[in-house]
């Protein structure tokens, strides 16, 4: 598995992989700054009210930086799904499996590297966005004492930890979609369609049931760190949401492993 991990790390030099990370950083920083600008410029509105309320508190920084959370989830999902599915589309999977016939070892090593890459991308994204907002606040003479207090830092780290957990789950969902579709175009299409249709549209009309959908459950984890009005806080409670998220993750791993191990490789 370590050999598969090291092999995968070499592939991160590709511009397409680095571009995913770049888009995550740039989009999050932009949305965070836009939110900061709206709050500090005196804009009002029902959507901004909870953010304005949270702004001077220790949760103020993550409330601003975390506005791009849904986008981070979508980018991470596409990064992982496209990376794995491309091995089928490019035909490179057959090279990999001839050199590492242990399919589960290959998949595990690959996923370990991808999750590490997504985590590093997230850490950079949050660090750059937070630094940008802190710098902007200092430039405008806005106090950041609450954000940099011990409680503020603890909140930020808690947000980071839960966001990492969320992205691990999202990465495993991406793996499952790639293993089932075995094609770059189909995998990205299915991943986007899944986030938009069942998790987006159906959730709007069936809120009670949709709270158990995987992407929503995973999103509840970092959401629980925000003030309830900013959310999304888990309606089923944090512990239940965490257990459900872990169950989804185990399910993704089991189905992916069973399918990939028995799959014919025609790529």
């Amino acid at each position: 598995m370590i050999r598969a991990f090291r092999s995968e790390v070499l592939k991160f030099r590709r511009w397409s992989v680095l571009a995913g990370s770049g888009v995550m950083i740039a989009a999050t920083a932009f949305i965070a700054y836009l939110t900061f600008h709206q709050i500090t410029s005196g804009a009002t509105g029902p959507e901004l009210a909870p953010l304005i309320q949270a702004f001077p508190t220790p949760q103020g920084l993550i409330s601003v930086v975390g506005q791009a959370r849904s986008l981070i989830i979508v980018i991470a999902l596409i990064m992982v799904t496209s990376n794995i599915a491309a091995e089928w589309s490019q035909g490179t999977l057959r090279n990999l499996l001839v050199r590492e016939p242990g399919r589960l070892r290959l998949l595990a090593g690959k996923m370990l590297a991808l999750v590490l890459f997504v985590t590093i991308s997230l850490a950079l994204t949050l660090a750059i966005s937070a630094a940008l907002i802190l710098a902007a606040a200092h430039a405008q003479g806005i106090s950041t004492a609450a954000w940099t207090s011990s409680e503020g830092i603890r909140t930020f780290l808690s947000f980071f930890g839960n966001e990492v957990l969320c992205l691990v789950g999202i990465s495993l969902l991406g793996m499952l979609i790639a293993v089932l579709t075995r094609s770059l175009g189909a995998a990205v299409g299915v991943a986007l369609a899944y986030v938009l249709v069942p998790e987006g549209v159906i959730a709007m009309v069936w809120q009670d049931g949709s709270k158990w959908f995987p992407v929503r459950v995973l999103n509840f984890l970092p959401g629980s760190v925000f003030p309830p009005a900013v959310g999304p806080t888990p309606p089923q409670g944090y512990t239940t949401a965490l257990l459900m998220a872990l169950l989804w993750m185990v399910g993704f791993v089991i189905v992916s492993a069973v399918v990939f191990r028995r799959q014919d490789i025609n790529a």
Binding site: R3, K11, V98, I265
Partner: protein, 259 residues
């Protein structure tokens, strides 16, 4: 008691091998895709240390057979041993096998060297081995360039380098001369002969029958998933009479099979 055709084929192959062992042996190997029989009860034996030509018309089942031998496809029926190890345990033989399957596949934005390093890390091969195989296929001077800038012939040579990476005992090559210019084909022929001299077995699928005739010791002829012939190349050519080319013999056998 008269030996079965399978047993006599195995016997012939073992006697042909310098050390009396087989590189590949399949018995009734089958693979169906839906109702289509891609490989249908295939029984062949390939001795160790030979260049074995694997020929057949398009759709005969050559690539499917190669994928079965490499553990990429699961057989529907039958069995096989590769380098003495059962097909069901690819981990026991694939570290000693190198393969080029159909059109070689790469990460186009990575350099030729990095493409090889990805597989070297995976297979546990040394950094120096990457340089050696690049040298062997004469790609050292372009090794740092992205593969997307390579010509078809260079990609083909990089594909051969990937196959050579584990210093394999068995080399499975599917159309290795695709896209090569005449000089490249001559170099490929020399490389194959050199590898055979080192005692390696080469299982070579190609449509270039004239080229194959110059290097092959053993032949497997496939049609509609079944072996029409599996044995010494000389035996097949002699069946047609002295001076018959492989191409003539191939066409005659196919015609006979269809009739």
């Amino acid at each position: 008691m008269t030996p079965s055709p399978d047993a006599s084929q195995t016997e012939q192959a073992t006697s042909f091998s310098p050390n009396g062992t087989l590189a590949i042996e399949t018995r009734g190997l089958s693979k169906h895709f839906g109702k289509r029989k891609a490989v249908d009860g295939l029984t062949i034996s390939i001795p160790v240390g030979v260049i074995a030509g694997f020929v057949g018309p398009n759709g005969a089942g050559k690539t499917t057979t190669i994928r079965l031998l490499l553990g990429l496809l699961r057989p529907g029926a039958g069995s096989a041993t590769i380098l003495g190890q059962p097909l069901t345990r690819p981990r026991s033989y694939l570290p000693r096998v190198g393969a080029l399957i159909e059109v070689p596949a790469f990460y186009p934005s990575l350099s030729g060297r990095t493409n090889l390093e990805v597989l070297a890390h995976l297979g546990g091969h040394s950094h120096s081995r990457v340089s050696q195989v690049l040298e062997q296929v004469e790609l050292s001077d372009r090794a740092s360039d992205p593969v997307r800038t390579y010509s078809q012939g260079m990609k083909q040579r990089l594909g051969v380098a990937i196959a050579l990476l584990p210093d394999p005992d068995l080399l499975i090559l599917d159309e290795p001369a695709n896209g090569l210019d005449p000089l490249g084909i001559i170099q490929m022929r020399d490389l194959l002969r050199h590898l055979r001299e080192q005692g390696k077995t080469i299982f070579l699928s190609t449509h270039l029958l004239g080229e194959l005739e110059q290097v092959t010791d053993w032949l497997v002829m496939l049609n509609q998933g079944k072996a029409l012939f599996s044995g010494p190349a000389r035996d097949l050519l002699d069946q047609q009479g002295v001076g018959a080319s492989l191409e003539e013999r191939f066409l005659a056998m196919l015609k006979g099979n269809h009739e």
